[in-house]
Amino acid sequence: MEKSAVFKGKLLPYLLLVPQLVITLVFFYWPASQAVWQSFLREDAFGLNSEFIGLENYQALLAQPEYYKAMATTVVFSSLVAALSLSIALLFATQADKNLKAAPTFKVMMIWPYAVAPAVAGVLWLFIFHPSLGTMARPLRMMGFNWNPMLNGNHAMALVVMAAVWKQIAYNFLFFLAGLQAIPRSVLEAGAIDGAGPYRRFWTITFPLLSPTTFFLLVVNVVYVFFDTFGIIDAVTGGGPAGATTTMVYKVYADGRLGGDLGGSAAQSVILMVIVIALTAIQFRYVERKVQY
């Protein structure tokens, strides 16, 4: 789509673009290309010497069992968070879509966690489920369940999943509700006249009509889990115990900072970039972006 009426200007449009282009080039393209370049270098810990080593960083990375573990962790973490937060949000959204008097109040009450920082959400859940002082730890132990996310990898994973789902429900709820409200009532009425009950109407009419929203949210959620949950993981588990909650993004951070392996960290960054670009391409290619509010 193009405007037919435009200004003629020789210099002005470039001046208008300068601030954004400068910031983008300096803080985006330059570092991104550095990441690619660094992934082919071996650098000593002080950054004094570097040597071109081709694909060795990638080979070393792909020979690391920890890297595959981080991949597996990321897959498990993303699937759990996406599946749980989407289905819980859909359940709440379908209820809020009914003509209830208190629906607006419920809506506000459901969406505000969007504004809570992931790291803060992590700290809140850590406090509730802290093995020694957490409010929920004692009841869990009384039920004979030896709860300890500091030592048990599965417990740690459960805890970060809970915090991540808790935060993401708000976003999914909002978009599902918007999607539900965009479905024409007449279609549902037609279904009702044909004798379909609420349950059948949901699965045969509402859910299929909602699929663009669902697919859009699926991609958004995966991206969320990849990147935004860094704060949750760092605040709750620090990637532990024994790497049980180290996702790919967390490993980029940990290897570069704690391990000082900048080349390996850069190689991981490049792999992540490829994954994100693929995800974004999928989103653009297949998602009908007609989410209405």
Binding site: M1, K3, A5, V6, F7, K10, L12, L16, L17, P19, Q20, T24, V26, F27, F28, W30, P31, A35, Q38, Q95, N99, L100, A102, F106, M109, I111, W112, P113, A115, V116, A117, A119, A121, V123, L124, W125, F127, I128, S132, L133, T135, A137, R138, W166, L174, F175, R201, F216, F227, D234, V249, V252, Y253, G256, R257, L262, S265, S269, V276, V291
Partner: protein
């Protein structure tokens, strides 16, 4: 509604109330913890009703900081977070409304190239290029500065796309009319486009303020001085003290303080928030 059944409404209320309970519970517990003294919180059997140390805890957190390892007072962290969030939100609005204006209302060589250069940044969050960006900031001597906290995070395309989309919906007749009135690009921008864009700017502001306030990894990396710490990174540091006795009641008071500004923005500017959220995703 297609049909109205009483049990259906009751079920909806029950499910939604349960949902609100889940959503509110962690914050309620944090709120309660921030009103008790350290001993009550640590013993693992904290009451579920407010205690009597509210003022003391919040006073200590805001003005003194989490004792021991000379932590920064939270009041100061709040200020840092505020400057960062405002800087990111306003900075993004300014640079993106200008670039969108250029891309939509002018024809010039490399227009498409400029648009694509900006557009590509949509795909890569700061997390994947974290160390090279850190190095750029270090080379520019911007570690521990507000500029270092703000600038890398406004390098993204969301704002430009949002304004571009909005400008496209503005009828061409408006431009022609102001041309007849003798307005140049500057007057048209100031007198016609800006007033029309107020809602879009406000919606973008709300989203970007929350985004900026909640940043974690970036401030964690580039702030080494305690005086530059933001509140979101500060909480974690309160809990990773070397001695075992992290002061959870202060950390929870800080968590509450960290939530109040962005949550208030969502609750009180709900319409703008929803609009911003939906439109930045399109």
């Amino acid at each position: 509604m297609v049909e109205h059944r009483r049990w259906n409404d009751i079920l909806a209320y029950a499910i939604l109330t349960f949902g609100v309970f889940i959503v509110v519970f962690p914050v309620y517990v944090a709120l309660i913890a921030s009103t008790h003294d350290a001993a009550t919180v640590v013993n693992g059997n904290m009451p579920m009703l407010p205690g009597s140390h509210t003022l003391e805890n919040y006073y200590r957190a805001i003005f003194i900081g989490g004792s021991r390892a000379s932590r920064e007072p939270v009041g100061h962290m709040l200020m840092n977070s505020f400057v960062m969030a405002m800087g990111i939100a306003l900075g993004k609005i300014v640079i993106s409304i200008l670039s969108a204006y250029a891309v939509v209302y002018f024809r010039f060589p490399f227009r498409q190239t400029a648009f694509w250069i900006i557009f590509v940044t949509l795909m890569l969050p700061v997390e994947v290029r974290i160390y090279p960006t850190y190095k750029v900031i270090a080379d520019l001597k911007m570690l521990d500065t507000y500029a270092g906290l703000i600038l890398p995070l406004i390098a993204s395309a969301t704002g430009t796309l949002l304004f571009r989309q909005f400008f496209m919906t503005i009828p061409d007749e408006l431009l022609e009319a102001s041309r007849i009135d003798g307005a140049g690009p500057f007057r048209f921008f100031k007198d016609t486009l800006l007033p029309l864009s107020v809602t879009t700017m406000a919606a973008l502001f709300v989203i970007q303020f929350i985004y900026g306030w909640n940043q974690y990894l970036w401030p964690l990396l580039i702030t080494t001085q305690e005086s530059m710490q933001t509140i979101v990174t500060g909480i974690k540091k309160m809990l990773t003290t070397t001695d075992e006795l992290a002061e959870w009641q202060l950390a929870m008071a800080t968590a509450i303080l960290a939530m109040v500004p962005p949550v208030a923005v969502v609750v009180f500017m709900q319409r703008l928030f929803v609009r911003g959220l939906v439109e930045t995703e399109k």
